[in-house]
Amino acid sequence: MFLYNRVKIERIGVFYMSMKFVLAEKQMNDAILFPEFNLTINESEIVSLCSNVNVREQLLFILLGKTNLSKGKIEFDSEQKLGFYFLREGEYERLTVKESLQFFHRIHQSDQSIEEVLQTVQLESKKNKRIKELSYSEKKRVQLAHILIQNPAIYIMEEPDQNLDIESKKIFINILKMLSSSQKTILILTGQVESALAYSDQIYRLDEKGLHPIQLEVETQNDSNKKTGNEHKDKIVQPIRFEKIPTKVNEKIVLFDPPEIDYIESIEGQTFLHNKGESFPCAFTLNDLEERLLPFGFFRCHRSYIVNLQKVREVITWTRNSYSLVLDDTEKSSIPLSKTKMTDLKGMLGLK
């Protein structure tokens, strides 16, 4: 049963541009979709909520005012319309990029400069092309331009980087930084922890158990020292032991040769081996695995990732502080690389 009995989205005074979830809870068909949680997103903050598709859709419906929260409320400034960047959005495909932006400019009675926005999304050279002639990523950039023209105080972004090409991702990151420095409030709704890691400073997982912050690494120098120490020890002691990594699939135990593994990921304490686009839960912790796999050219590139360096094809620098590793597997998976590890990696590659 839906419980719609109060107006749950409350628009508050004009003093600040933050967005607040207060004891927000949603039930659907007698099951809890997400229990009560509090979350405040202040201006200049980029917050990611990682959730499954159901939660994401319901959150969007609630923000759109199509359904209500079962309990609690969402508070934000009444003067401002929310700016939505949907995953699936139509464009007027027969208009040119510029005409489409002009239309949005007029309809929102915006004071943003169309030329500047075109420059920001780097579509200047294509401004007289019809939208249907653009690639998917370019269309998404047109969509991004629309929301920039609208210029809301609060941005709600649904899976913003899904299927984007690398160039567009870079443009997207720059735009996020620009928005954040101009005091905008940004909420990213995504299912992918990796994309959340690349774009935001605060990441939460929202599911039926509630809202949990995902720890961003705060690694100290000691940590990395210890690790290099370990490396030496391992190389010396090199025990002759069974070198396969066991994983569990249903009731079977599957053994992997270390070189087969693309990368290892830890999600909420559970480790997963990734091999040819499939993932297999593994009983060992990341620390154990790191120790066992170091001799095989594996590298702890992030608090929750170990990567097989043999499989790394590219190292992408998004900003000075955020990097990704792109693997040479079938899916071109991209894995976050943390700042402190970047220096380690450079060392290992002999780039220092």
Binding site: E89, G90, R94, L95, H108, R130
Partner: protein, 235 residues
């Protein structure tokens, strides 16, 4: 939220550009024109023939184009973006109706020109044509709200075209089948009736009943549109 002509105008211009590049829909604009030119050359000079063209203009341009404009926004998922913008529903529909209205009037004028129809009293005919086109655009809006895609709208508009353009032939059978008398109250038949009266020198007072019937149709269609709109929006 205040009604803003700027936004209506923005939607009008956007739809005009979009429409003129959408050959699949904009081609229908030429159909009545070609027919009118052929009739004119053939020397068909009856009120029936002239108004068959004009009624076809109403159904093809007024109803079909309006229906497609609305259905395409729904199909392409662009309507949500418009709804989230400051533009109200009235402004969105207003901008679209303005385009269909201008198109209808322009095409109706050229149809009359090409088929060499020179009404005896331009003022009455013009009033009747304006009211009728408002009715047909209302009908298009109604169908556009029901249709989910351009494909669907071209199907559901077929009965409209059939009834409102071919309807004028049915009058011949009324004596044989009295049930068909109801057809006489259709707005297009009323328009023909009105035009015939005008040719025989009638003034505004003589055709007031015809105008009233067309006006009633218009009001009914707009009430229906509002009802359907409210129902659709709740879903």
């Amino acid at each position: 939220m205040t009604f803003s002509w700027k936004r209506v105008n923005a939607i009008f211009q956007k739809d005009f550009k979009d429409f003129s590049r959408n050959l699949a829909v904009s081609i229908v604009v030429f159909l009545p024109l070609i027919l009118a030119a052929v009739y004119g050359r053939m020397g068909l000079d009856t009120i029936q023939a002239h108004f068959m063209n004009i009624n076809m203009t109403f159904a093809m341009v007024g109803t079909y184009v309006q229906c497609c404009l609305i259905a395409e926004e729904k199909e392409k998922n662009t309507l949500r973006g418009l709804m989230l913008s400051p533009a109200s529903t009235l402004e969105i529909l207003g901008g679209k109706s303005l385009l269909s209205f201008v198109l209808t009037i322009v095409i109706a004028f050229f149809c009359a020109y090409l088929s060499e129809y020179r009404p005896a009293n331009i003022a009455i005919i013009a009033t009747a044509i304006v009211i009728s086109s408002v009715f047909f655009i209302g009908l298009g809006t109604l169908l556009g709200l029901i249709a989910k895609s351009v494909m669907e709208s071209s199907v559901i508009v077929l009965p409209v075209i059939a009834v409102f353009t071919m309807g004028s032939f049915v009058t011949v059978w009324i004596e044989k089948y009295p049930v068909l008398q109801i057809v006489e109250y259709l707005p297009n038949i009323q328009l023909i009736d009105l035009a015939t009266k005008v040719e025989s020198g009638a003034g505004f007072g003589d055709v007031i009943s015809n105008l009233a019937i067309i006006l009633i149709w218009t009001v009914v269609v707009y009430i229906l549109t509002v009802v359907v709109y409210k129902k659709r929006m709740v879903d």
